[in-house]
């Protein structure tokens, strides 16, 4: 069963919290991974890989750079599930 955007956000927030030590509640839609959450390229790749595992989706490297905000990533992964 495909997850809703809300469920994907919750799952992604957990991954980000684990990788960065931030509180999962800080991981909200409008936040930018680099500018607001201070996530560097290696952490971003780690987060993307863990999200691929968690949501059983494939995110090609060339798409990762378009995932600027948390909402971008949530929308991408929700769609990619189906």
């Amino acid at each position: 069963m495909a997850l809703s955007e809300k469920e994907v956000l919750a799952g992604l927030a957990e991954i980000v919290a684990e990788e960065t030590g931030l509180d999962a509640a800080e991981v909200t839609g409008p936040k930018s991974f680099t500018d607001d959450l201070d996530i560097d390229s290696l952490s971003m790749m780690t987060i993307v890989t863990l999200a691929e595992e968690k949501f059983s989706v494939r995110i090609p490297d060339e798409d990762v750079k378009n995932l600027v905000t948390v909402a971008d990533a949530v929308a991408y992964m929700t769609k990619a599930q189906s």
């Binding site: 560097d40 390229s41 290696l42 790749m45 780690t46 890989t49 490297d61």
Partner: protein
């Protein structure tokens, strides 16, 4: 019918003694940051490296190997002449032929030992242990010297942002010999199609054909290698634990190739190692020394009192090829 006789050795082999050598010169992040428009902060945050140790110009990769090997022989309590096989893992011996191993054997007093080099980059030390273990247990050799030695600084480009700033020089050596009890687990090893991910910039033939071609140096696709190491290597490491009939709770030390502190931490997390496991983090001071990094990190754990003889260590090497090898060993 005539049949060929084959040899059979002791049931088990073990690591008998360790020796290491590091480059003599401490190179700080500030020393390398200028030409790559980087900074101490960036390098520490992305890689964990604070300094790398590099050899003086007049010190060769063989000199580093000899220093480490002499200490390994002393630690093992055996004479150079008892060594009947020398295995030299390196990607920075600057002569394609002859191999470095026969000359090392001659320097150490075992000039008639079987001697050959392995080209398995950062997996070279674990490849060497796999072979030494097999040679001893088959009865083909009695005492094998395994050396991982690199003078990476001969192949760096100070303006390269992809790998040069990570690299240091050093050597680590162990003597592998017969054992009464199991002390080297099965090696889980293999390769992956990815020649372009860590490589020399170009071949020697290009230098021959166009004299304006620069001296070849090393480059890598950092992100790709980071992902492979962080997410595929933990599976190989976990299989090595399983192949040895153990669980993560049985391991006292985790000593992976020292490529990047963040790879090391991610691997430890994914393998599910308990917090009590000592983790090799010599990269902070020694940088990435390719085939030498695992024995260097092992020596560091001993020096810091984090491991003792007989402790079970999970070691895994991975790098250019791509190639990898992992095994559990009892520390010498």
């Amino acid at each position: 019918m005539t049949v060929i006789r084959t040899t059979k050795g002791p049931e088990y082999a073990r690591l008998m003694g360790l020796g290491v050598a590091r480059g003599e010169v401490t190179v700080t992040n500030d020393d390398v940051a200028g030409p790559i428009d980087s900074s101490d902060e960036w390098i520490q945050q992305r890689t964990g490296i604070v300094t790398r140790m590099r050899a003086k110009p007049e010190t060769s990769v063989l000199d580093l190997a000899e220093r480490a090997s002499r200490d390994a022989l002393i630690a093992a309590g055996i004479e150079g002449r008892a060594i009947d096989t020398v295995i030299f893992s390196t990607i920075t011996h600057p002569q394609m032929t002859p191999a470095a191993a026969p000359e090392l054997g001659a320097r150490l007093g075992c000039p008639t030992a079987a001697a050959f080099d392995i080209s398995a980059a950062c997996a070279g030390y674990c490849y060497g242990i796999a072979q030494a273990d097999a040679l001893v247990r088959s009865g083909q050799s009695t005492y094998v010297l395994v050396v991982g030695a690199e003078k990476m600084s001969d192949f760096v480009d100070p303006t390269d942002r992809s790998i040069s700033f990570l690299l240091g020089d050093g050597a680590g050596a162990v003597v592998v010999g017969p054992s009464d009890a199991p002390a080297i687990g099965p090696t889980v090893w293999g390769s992956k199609d990815g020649a372009e991910f860590v490589r020399m910039t170009h071949s020697w033939l290009e230098v021959r054909d166009d004299p304006t071609t620069p001296f070849p140096t090393l480059v890598q696709e950092g992100q790709t290698v980071f992902k492979w190491a962080s997410f595929e290597m933990p599976d190989a490491a976990a299989k090595a634990i399983e192949a040895a009939g153990l669980t993560p709770a049985d391991i006292q030390a985790f000593i992976p190739h020292q490529a990047n502190i963040r790879i090391i931490d991610q691997m430890a997390k994914r393998i599910g190692l308990p917090d009590t496991v000592a983790i090799g983090r010599d990269i902070v001071d020694s940088g990435n020394t390719s085939a030498a990094s695992i024995p260097l990190a092992t020596e560091r754990l001993f020096r810091d009192g984090q491991v003792k003889s007989g402790d079970l260590a999970l070691q895994i090497g991975f790098g250019a090829g791509l190639v990898f090898a992992a095994q559990v060993v009892a520390l010498p």
